[in-house]
């Protein structure tokens, strides 16, 4: 399939839009009418054709514009990309993983030609054709992690594994749900998750760490996470909170359908072969409420999830103040009918809105 890449912005005039194709394949994160934390991991080995789970690194219509936005963020704040000295090998691992995956999964968009250590990488959508020496940093314009993640959607946390823990020792983080690589760099798994409410008491992180340390080569895993964002902003960082935080007060009953977005992260986990590090790609998908409710099942369910979410979680996810307005809007799309199990839109089998 050839992807038509959008020319759009995630700031200023916010011209970001989801096409009908992108709406239908949106990774809706709620498999039932309520939500609570769980270590909801599964293997990352493909998924239904056309879904965001199908390829190892999903490329969609937002690719080129997202990469342009990343370049803008980095130009203003180079500390969004950091790699401690011992993580360079992991950077090469990541470069190889992405180049091999993308060239195999999207041969019409990406090509990788390897002749020993001499590699040629062609990225058609971004107009890149570079030849370099694998494992020789001097032959690339950036370090290996920065080079490849300037060309790959999603944030990347590269975690060193040692002393029975994972350490946030490298990353490219420009599309984050309000966390800072510059703040977290060098922290271990428990330290960087310290601000999350409830989950510690539930033992979630101990179990999650055990699971992640056992993610093995050739057997990647994935899960979804979600939050809410006003305006289609990729860069909701603590560094720029003074710019975007205020926008949460600009919601009105008239503009909420267009401005309020459900933000979903497709998180995947790969063991990196040469470094034994773990890479944690965090891919952000945004959808406006007004687009989401065009899928009747999702409209019904989102209303119920937002309504019944524990207060601590609505506070942590940053929408407690706007929850009443969100519920006023979403309740128009909940007719009380039961919903089918699972995350899929089920457009052909679920009834249209009955009010």
């Amino acid at each position: 399939m050839t992807i038509q890449f959008n020319d759009e912005t995630f700031r200023g005039d916010y011209s970001f839009r989801n096409s009908p194709w992108a709406i239908k394949r949106f990774p809706f994160p709620f498999h039932e009418d309520s939500y609570m934390y769980s270590v909801n991991m599964e293997q990352h080995r493909g998924g239904p054709a056309g879904s965001v789970y199908e390829k190892r690194f999903d490329v969609d219509e937002h690719y080129v514009s997202e990469m342009r936005d990343r370049a803008l963020v980095l130009a203003e704040d180079p500390l969004r990309c950091q790699s401690l000295p011992h993580m360079t090998l992991a950077g090469w691992d990541l470069l190889e993983l992405i180049m091999v995956s993308k060239s195999e999964d999207y041969p019409d968009l990406f090509e990788l030609h390897r002749d020993g250590d001499r590699w040629r990488w062609v990225n058609r959508p971004m107009g890149i054709d570079d030849t370099f020496t694998f494992m020789d940093e001097t032959t690339l314009p950036y370090g290996p992690m920065e080079y490849i993640t300037r060309q790959t959607q999603g944030d990347f946390a590269v975690l060193d594994q040692r002393d029975d823990n994972l350490w946030m020792d490298a990353g490219m983080v420009t599309t984050q749900a309000d966390w800072s690589l510059d703040f977290d760099i060098g922290m271990n798994f428990f330290e960087w998750h310290a601000p999350v409410p409830l989950a510690h008491e539930m033992g979630i992180f101990k179990r999650a760490l055990k699971f992640l340390m056992n993610v093995q080569q050739g057997a990647p895993a994935r899960r979804l996470n979600w939050t809410m964002t006003v305006n289609p902003l990729l860069d909701t960082s603590p560094e720029n909170y003074h710019k975007w935080g205020i926008q949460k007060t600009e919601l009105t009953p008239e503009n909420i359908g267009a401005k309020q977005h459900l933000r979903v992260e497709l998180q995947t986990f790969y063991r990196l072969p040469r470094s034994n590090a773990l890479v944690f790609p965090i891919r952000c998908y945004l959808i406006a409420f007004q687009d989401l409710v065009t899928v009747p099942k999702w409209g019904r369910r989102l209303h119920r999830v937002v309504r019944d979410l524990p207060e601590e979680l609505a506070t942590y996810k940053g929408f407690i103040a706007n929850r009443p307005m969100m519920l006023d809007y979403l309740s128009q799309y909940d007719d009380g009918l039961p919903t089918s199990p699972g995350v899929w839109p089920d457009l052909d089998t679920e009834p249209p809105l009955q009010k």
């Binding site: 990774p27 080995r45 879904s51 090998l89 190889e96 080569q217 057997a219 899960r223 979804l224 072969p273």
Partner: protein, 328 residues
């Protein structure tokens, strides 16, 4: 989320291989080299990783972990070196006696429970006997990265010093060999005292040697996180015992020469596992009820967990007594 529910099978991903060479190294040790049948490259691996070798020994499946000793930068070949254990349960004997070039075998993807700490300013390797194997891969990897390292290698005698000649010739000045029959011993205390700040020590060898290194390092003020070890445990034979598996709703008998994990597998229970050597934690199993004594042999459970009688690692640990009920 449930985008595409799949049942996870126990163990790591597998790779089909052809035995490309069987090379006797000395009287006890043989090297086995593998290639992929289609000539495709192997997955790259990190030094210190092991692979689990699947053996079909006259209908009985044996799964033994061995350190990958080949150069991680060489994707054409995986190699292991196996010491013949005449008293063991038969895995090494099977490899030595039955495996020939051209044979097809199955390996697991590499799994690393003994990684190099890449922050280390210097790496000191302490090998005892066949414990040399992971260090061969580490040395190859660190040489490419231009890192500082040295190896101290204790062997019984010159004839059994696997790869000592190659290592000494290739890296004079970085490799020291110590022979038991010449009453030579690694001068551990002095060695530890003389290292620059930021040095990491790695030990692989017999249990006693590993304990000696950890104890001495602690005594000499080394931080625990700078001392790394790997000891593969082979399951030990023991008295047969009976186990009730409540989830599977069956009672099975663990024979003298098989592990609890192997007995479960023989009875068709898809129990989780990875290293099969008591180190990775994958096979940890809850004990529902017991009357008798555990023989815990793993490196995974904490002392208090072992003492509590609520957990067992079925890959290496056994039980003596009339009643054992597991949540499996």
């Amino acid at each position: 989320m449930s985008a595409a529910p799949q049942k996870t099978k126990a163990g790591a991903e597998k790779i089909e291989v052809i035995v490309s060479a069987v090379v006797p190294v000395n009287e006890l040790v043989t090297r086995f080299e593998f290639q992929r049948p289609d000539g495709a490259p192997f997955p790259p691996f990190s030094a210190g990783a092991h692979t689990v070798v699947e053996m079909n020994d006259a209908g009985r499946t044996r799964l033994n972990p061995y350190s990958l000793m080949s150069d991680p930068a060489d994707p054409g070949t995986y190699a292991i070196s196996v010491r013949r254990d005449d008293q063991g349960r038969g895995g090494s004997l099977f490899l030595h006696r039955n495996v020939k070039p051209g044979d097809r075998m199955t390996l697991s993807y590499p799994v690393n429970l003994f990684p190099v700490d890449l922050r280390g300013r210097k790496h000191v390797f302490l090998a005892g006997g066949i414990g040399i194997t992971p260090f061969l891969a580490m040395i190859a990897q660190l040489e490419k990265l231009g890192a500082r390292w040295e190896l101290h290698y204790a062997c019984r005698n010159e004839a059994l010093a696997s790869y000592a000649d190659v290592l000494t010739a290739r890296h004079p000045g970085k490799v020291r060999i110590y022979y038991d029959d010449r009453k030579q011993a690694i001068p551990l205390g002095d060695l530890l005292d003389g290292q620059p700040l930021g040095t990491h020590v790695y030990v692989c060898g017999p249990k006693g040697m590993i304990e000696w290194v950890h104890r001495t390092a602690t005594d000499h003020g080394w931080p625990e996180d700078n001392v790394h070890s790997e000891e593969f445990l082979a399951p030990q034979p023991g008295k047969p015992f009976e186990v009730r598996l409540c989830k599977s709703d069956m009672t099975i008998r663990v024979g003298e020469n098989e592990s609890l994990l192997e007995a479960m597998e023989r009875c068709g229970v898809d129990a989780p596992f990875l290293c099969r050597g008591g180190a990775c934690g994958q096979c940890e199993t809850d004990v529902v009820e017991h009357e008798g004594e555990f023989i815990h042999r793993d490196h995974w459970l904490e002392d208090d967990q072992q003492a509590s009688g609520t957990k067992i690692m079925p890959c290496v640990s056994r039980f003596v007594g009339p009643t054992l009920v597991l949540d499996r």
